[in-house]
Structure formats: structure tokens, C-alpha cells
């Protein structure tokens, strides 16, 4: 039988581009932003130093990060946010479990939380100053108030979505309230709880830092407003970059630990 024969082409290899199109576009966007930024900075179109050169911002970032006093302020802010998260998070968790566990309580009180939750919390700052003084106490209180609402609402919502079978299993084993919370409720609603903590951390950070910008003599918020008052724009940009990296990083880390999306979604 005559061989029909085949063209013996060399094994075709997929065409390899030096960069994936998405990566190339990302790099192009970044380069375009850098070029436009530097052009505006050099042109003097805006007021001097409003758009400082990226080199100046880089220098300020280096100076800020190598300054030991920066870490004192960073520690102060972290300390305030940490305490705020503990107070606001735990009280939010307790209230969320109470409201989520009882349809009656939820119908009686959850509307108050639901509508107070999105109100601008910074307006409570004058009250917090009167109650807790001008020191870190009022900043902690601001962070705790901010953090409380998302945690409570997420936990209450998560409680209602727990599989009823799990609750019946717990009850059939005659688990007490503490065992029900630690063995059934919390493991079953870890995703809403982690999501609540993630949202709570974001707003606690905002609440604490805004309070620091308003009235404080320590903390990153204080450094930002100090940079504004002495018109040190490169340092202000550097501080904002550090804050954004911390906030987005914390959001991503908590999300990954909890097996959620990388970044907060609505």
C-alpha cells in the first residue's frame, strides 16, 4: 500500500511572547503614570511640591522608614488599633451571636445596628474626647465603635446561615452555651466572622487614624497632619503609601487566612 505520506513538520511549539499581554499592559500603565507624574512634577503646572518628583517621594520613604521615631508612632497606631479590634471585635461578636441566635431579638434590635452601621463614625469623636480624654483612649474608642458594627452585622448574618442540623447535633450532645459557641457556631460561621473582622479592621484603621489627624500628638495620623502643616509633601505621600500598603496587605492576609477572595468585595 502506497504510503499516503505525511508532511513531517517539526513539532510545533507555542509562540512565546516575552511577556503576557496582561503583564505588558500593566507595565505600560505603570510606565505611563510614572512619565505623566514626572512631567507634571517638572512642568510646575501645579503649585510647587504638590506633585513632587517620584525620586523625592522615594527618598522621603527611605528617610521615614529609617527613622526610629517613625516606629514609635507606628507602634502607637498599631497598639490603638489592636485594642480597638479586641474591644470592638469581641463585643461585636457577642452581640452578633445574640442577635443571630434569636429571631425575636434580631427583629427588636438589629435595625438599629443596621442603620447606625453606615453612619459617619468620626462625628462621635467630640463625645469620645469628653468620655476618654485627648490621649489614646479616645482613639481606641473611635476604632472600637467603627469595628463593632461590621463584626456584629456579619456575625448575626452568619449565625442565621448555620446549618440547622449542626445546631441540632450540638443540642443532642447536650452542649452548654460555651460549647455551642466554640464547637458549633464559630467553626460553622468562620467565613462571615473573618469577613466581619476584615471589614472591621479596615474601618477601625480609618477611625483611629482620622481621630489621630484631628487631635493627637502621636501616631501615624499625627505624622500625616504634621507633614501637611509644615507642607512636607514628599513625606505626606510616603506616609500615605505606607498606610495604603499596610491596609491593603492586612485586608489580603486576613482574607487569605480565612479562605476568602484576595481583596474586599462588596
Amino acid at each position: 500500500m502506497a504510503e499516503t505520506g505525511r508532511l513531517s513538520l517539526p513539532a510545533s511549539r507555542p509562540l512565546r511572547l516575552p511577556l503576557r499581554p496582561v503583564t505588558a499592559l500593566r507595565i505600560a500603565i505603570i510606565v505611563a503614570v510614572v512619565v505623566v507624574w514626572e512631567a507634571v512634577s517638572a512642568s510646575g503646572l501645579l503649585y510647587r511640591d504638590v506633585v513632587p518628583s517620584l525620586v523625592a517621594i522615594g527618598k522621603a520613604l527611605y528617610v521615614t522608614l529609617s527613622d526610629p521615631t517613625f516606629y514609635f508612632h507606628l507602634y502607637t497606631t498599631f497598639y490603638e488599633i489592636g485594642i480597638a479590634m479586641v474591644i470592638g471585635g469581641l463585643s461585636g461578636l457577642a452581640v452578633g451571636i445574640l442577635l443571630g441566635g434569636s429571631k425575636f431579638l434580631s427583629r427588636a434590635y438589629e435595625a438599629y445596628l443596621y442603620y447606625l452601621g453606615p453612619c459617619p463614625k468620626i462625628i462621635f469623636f467630640p463625645i469620645m474626647i469628653m468620655w476618654f480624654g485627648v490621649g489614646p483612649g479616645s482613639k481606641v474608642a473611635m476604632g472600637a465603635i467603627s469595628c463593632f458594627f461590621p463584626v456584629a452585622l456579619n456575625v448575626a448574618g452568619g449565625m442565621r446561615e448555620i446549618d440547622k442540623v449542626l445546631i441540632r447535633v450540638g443540642k443532642s450532645f447536650r452542649a452548654n452555651t460555651w460549647q455551642m459557641v466554640t464547637k458549633i457556631y464559630l467553626p460553622a460561621m468562620r467565613h462571615p466572622v473573618i469577613n466581619g473582622v476584615r471589614l472591621g479592621l479596615g474601618v477601625a484603621l480609618i477611625g483611629t487614624l482620622l481621630a489621630e489627624t484631628k487631635l493627637s500628638n502621636r501616631g501615624i495620623g499625627f505624622l500625616v497632619i504634621q507633614a501637611y502643616s509644615i507642607f512636607n509633601m514628599p513625606q505626606m505621600y510616603a506616609l500615605l503609601i505606607i498606610l495604603f500598603v499596610i491596609a491593603i496587605g492586612a485586608n489580603t492576609v486576613i482574607g487569605r487566612l480565612g479562605g476568602l477572595d484576595d481583596i474586599k468585595r462588596f
Binding site: 500593566r26 459617619p120 463625645i127 474626647i129 507633614a227 481583596i263
Partner: protein
Amino acid sequence: MSAAVATLAKNRYFPAALGLVSFVVFIALVELLIRVGVINRFIVPMPSDIIAAFPRVIVEEHVLQRFLLTAGEAFSASILVTIFGVAGGVLLYRYHLLRLATETWVAAVAAAPLVLMYPLYLVIFGRSALTIVMMGFTAGLAPVILKTLEGLSATRRVLINVGKSFNLTPSQQFWKILFPAALPTIFVGLRLGLIFALINIVGVEFLINFGGLGQLINELAERYDLPGTYAAICFVILVSICVFILMERLERWLRPVD
């Protein structure tokens, strides 16, 4: 007796009434504790004084004008958020590569504490209403972009195919098929964006002591007018709640029936 309690608990209005009664009892308790001296009246004013301060604050502090000023700023920010947010979402939907490259960035911006940029905006735009409007716009933009993109991407394939079978032009396809199908989700984004904008507008007014309702709270607190400060805070909360309820109703009205 327990049967009566159970029946009461199942009553439609009883839980809400209990919530309201608890609130009133709490206020009365605070009033009592202040009157007997357990709570210092120079730290927490009596609720009766706060209620009495309402007419004074409304008349003497020109609350209506301040409310209109804040509403105007919120309205301006809303217009900007709607135009740029929806346009941004459409742009990312239209250009898939751009979406792949930047969607994570937009989501990261949404997670960033943007309101902390207010000192930067003060330098760029000055201590003016423009700073407040731009801050509201910046805070509200990302959710609108993301929700618009989500709504357009979730348009059912069959609807798009119907449009194609009618040989619709890309513009007709967008206005007759994609946009109406995505509108409920877009409105969810607009609601979120406008709430973020409003929160930031009142917050920045308070922080920079400029503008409407936020500045009112700051001024009263600086004068140490405690009942007035509490009354102004209550007023801002009431206004915020009214706006949220209104937005929620609008969203429900737009949502398609399942």
C-alpha cells in the same frame, strides 16, 4: 402565661415595639443617672437638655442651610461618581485585557483607607467645598466601577444572543440589552458609592471644619455646647438613616421580581 408570651413574641409589631421601648427606657435611665449624679452632667448632658437643644440648634445654627450645603456637596459627588464610575465599569467590560490588568487594582483601591488622603486634597484643592466633593467622589468611585462591571458581565447570554439575532448595532446592544439588564446591580454599586461619599463628606467637613453638618458638630464641640453637640450628632444620624432608607427603597424598586 408562657403561652401568652409566646403569642406576643410571634406578633408582627411586638419585637419592633420592644426595641423602641427599650431605647426609651435606656434614655430615661441615663436621664435618671445624671440627675442623681452617677453620671457627670458635664460629660454626658441630660437627654431632656439634648431634646430641648434641638429647636435652638435648628434655628440659631442655620441647620437647614447647612443641610442644603452638605446635600449639595453630596449631590455633586454623586453626579461625578455616577458618570465616572459607570463609565469606568463599561470601559473595563468593553476591553477585556484592560479588565484583566486593572480589576484587582480597582478592588485594592476600594479596600484602601482613601479618606486619609484628605490632607493631600487640602493642599491640592484648598480648604474649600471642592476638597469635600473630591473626597466624596474618590471614596465612592471604586464600588460603582466594580458593581457596574459585575452587572454587565452577569447579563444572561440568551439576552445578548437575542440582541445579536436582531442585528443590533453595538450601541443598540448596550442601551437595549446590556444596560437595562445590569441596572439593578449598577444601582447596588451606586447605593454603596453614594453612602461612602456621604460618610466621607460629613467626616471631612468635621475634620477640616468647613461646610455643612460636619462643621456644625465641630463648632458646637469647640464651644463646649454639650447638648447642642449631641443634638447635632443625633440630627446627622437621623439624616443619614433617612438617606439610607431612601436609597434602599429605590434599590428594591429597581430590583427585578424573581
